[in-house]
């Protein structure tokens, strides 16, 4: 017998609900359904085969496919061989997503892996931003270069890179202000920071609790500056992880780490299979 479009649609109905409830954006669910239909409709199967299982496995494979990036980034493998120090990473993202805390966690992780780090306090806008990053850096044991509120974020980053060059520091982590993808000026400011610092990586920090809005955020940010990698924070809030699928589908950048708490060790390397299991509950 063969698999009909009806077979696929019936099996997809609850799977679709499952994905939507796991915070996979609607357009990504649509896309997955199309892929599954193309792949399975008309496929010949033995009589008595559980068609539902076939569809379910196809969905899992499709999800795993989206989650597995074309380029896989191994941060340490990228940093260590780089001759000309420092290795520069700029962090960008929507307001409150977890950038500053993630930078502190990553600084901690890099130090544990034998690398020296300095942080650029390039959020010169938000109240308390400089005190926040300074305190985090103090607790982790890394230096912060700052200019002060209202100073030019690109200039602070540039200064930090010069400081790192002079002292042979391995990595510069640039903290930037949260910004709204619909704010033209803030998007331009971000472009300028990237243009001036010429970073090795631009990392988008996203909130794992965000819904469909994360697609537009990721797209607009990626349009403004090429996003090389993603870190998804607050996964410990029982977020099902669908946001990972939405972002991967929207911009194709690899997810490097996920934040699973507010402690400095709460940063774990992204594992596609682990997220797959979370999404499928």
């Amino acid at each position: 017998t063969e698999i009909s479009e009806k077979d696929v649609e019936n099996a997809l109905w609850d799977l679709e609900l499952e994905l939507l409830e796991a915070d996979v954006a609607l357009e990504v669910v649509d896309e997955l359904k199309e892929r599954i239909k193309e792949k399975l409709v008309g496929q010949k199967v033995k009589i008595g085969t559980n068609k539902r299982n076939i569809v379910e496995n196809a969905v899992r494979d499709a999800v795993l496919e989206v989650l597995t990036p074309e380029k896989h980034i191994d941060l340490l493998e990228m940093i260590k061989p780089k001759e000309e120090k420092p290795f520069v990473i700029v962090f960008v993202g929507f307001n409150g997503g977890g950038k500053t805390t993630t930078i502190a966690k990553l600084a901690n992780w890099l130090k544990k892996n034998g690398l020296s780090v300095v942080i650029a306090a390039s959020d010169t806008f938000r109240a308390g931003a400089i005190e926040q990053v300074e305190e985090h850096a103090k607790r982790v044991g890394v230096k912060v270069i700052k200019h002060g509120y209202k100073s030019d974020p690109a200039a602070v980053a540039y200064d930090t890179i010069e400081h790192a060059k002079a002292r042979g520091i391995d990595v510069v982590l640039v903290d930037t202000a949260g910004r709204n993808e619909l704010n033209r000026n803030l998007m331009d400011e971000m472009k300028k920071i990237v243009r001036v610092t010429k970073p090795d990586l631009v990392i988008f920090v996203g909130d794992a609790l965000a819904g469909n809005a994360i697609i537009e955020q990721a797209r607009q940010f990626n349009e403004a500056v090429k996003i090389d990698g993603v870190i998804l924070a607050k996964l410990d809030a029982d977020a099902r992880g669908g946001a990972a699928l939405s972002i991967a589908h929207a911009i194709g950048a690899p997810i490097l780490f996920v934040g699973v708490g507010q402690g400095y060790d709460d940063l774990i390397p992204f594992d596609e299979k682990w997220i797959l299991e979370k999404i499928f509950g």
């Binding site: 609900l17 939507l20 409830e21 796991a22 915070d23 954006a25 609607l26 357009e27 929507f94 307001n95 409150g96 997503g97 977890g98 938000r126 109240a127 308390g128 931003a129 400089i130 005190e131 926040q132 990053v133 300074e134 305190e135 985090h136 607790r139 709204n180 993808e181 619909l182 704010n183 909130d207 609790l209 965000a210 819904g211 469909n212 809005a213 994360i214 537009e216 955020q217 607009q220 607050k234 410990d236 809030a237 029982d238 977020a239 099902r240 669908g242 946001a243 507010q262």
Partner: protein, 291 residues
């Protein structure tokens, strides 16, 4: 662009001379997609659209009202059923009125406390702000930098590790100063952090606020319902503020929070500046949800 497909479906319905079941199903399906893309809870969307479809097929539009107008009216009615017909403002009755803000990490509590304090100050009230966040580095400085330029005092103590003690001392401090409104900011927390949820329960039972305000991030997805429920089970929620609606997010998650807490949305945050706070307008919110 989802609003476009909904409009097209409604146009088809307007041109139809009879109530076509298939056409109504089309419109309802487009409404479902619009609401899901706006982050309304999926199960809630299914319940709502079942009701909308039933009413659209069974109810006769009143005289002079087209089928299309009738369906749009039904959709608005079903959605505003949860949200209320008009916004209720935060009441300042007792002297002093004590408000407590709670919510998930990064949702916009501290910024909203600053906005609220400025709003009340403009209405002639004397304000005191308390920072009871003992977890986030720079929390006290953040609040001070936001409101001190307006002559609003912040009580805090970065050395104090007990949030309940800090909240209690802050409220007592401002009660002695005879302010009209005391706003207490608290640390971010989520439902899996049982210790922090318990801390919030204790802060609330100790300072006994007139209103506990749940701050909901406008970008929140399907977790909104469960998270809001956990907050409500720890302490009654008096009202909700939905933040970051100046971005692409439609704020559908806030609808789930209303259902879970039984509390009305009173204001929305539309930016990072101190004046970026607007009273909640249910009609505008619903039309945004529908794209």
């Amino acid at each position: 662009k989802l609003g476009q497909s909904l409009n097209n479906a409604l146009k088809k319905l307007a041109r139809a001379s009879t109530v076509d079941k298939a056409l109504v199903r089309d419109v309802v399906r487009d409404i479902q997609r619009a609401l899901i893309t706006s982050d309304v809870n999926v199960r809630l969307v299914l319940d709502l659209t079942k009701k909308i479809e039933k009413r659209a097929l069974e109810e006769k539009p009143p005289a002079g009202v087209s089928k299309k107008e009738h369906i749009v009216k039904i959709v608005y009615e079903e959605l505003t059923n949860f949200l209320g017909k008009e916004a209720k403002p935060i009441q300042i009755k007792a002297k002093p009125t004590v408000l407590l803000t709670v919510g998930i990490q990064g949702s916009g509590k501290t910024t909203s406390v600053a906005k609220l304090s400025r709003y009340f100050q403009k209405h002639g009230y004397k304000i005191g702000v308390v920072c009871s966040d003992t977890w986030r580095p720079g929390a006290y400085q953040q609040l001070k930098q936001l409101v001190e330029p307006y002559g609003i005092e912040v009580f805090g103590n970065p050395e104090e590790k007990n949030a309940i003690k800090l909240a209690k001392e802050g409220v007592e401090y401002f009660k002695k100063k005879e302010v009209d409104v005391i706003i207490v900011d608290s640390a971010g927390r989520h439902k899996e952090e049982k210790g922090l949820i318990e801390e919030m329960r204790q802060i609330s039972s100790t300072i006994n606020p007139h209103e506990v305000i749940l701050i909901i991030d406008g970008t929140i997805g399907q977790q909104a319902y469960n998270q809001a429920l956990a907050f409500k089970e720890a302490t009654p929620i008096g009202s909700i503020i939905v933040t970051k609606l100046d971005g692409s997010a439609k704020g559908g998650g806030a609808l789930s929070a209303v259902v879970a807490t039984g509390a009305p949305i009173k204001c929305i945050g539309v930016g990072e500046k101190i004046d970026d706070l607007e009273p909640f307008d249910p009609k505008r919110f619903v039309s945004r949800l529908l794209g």
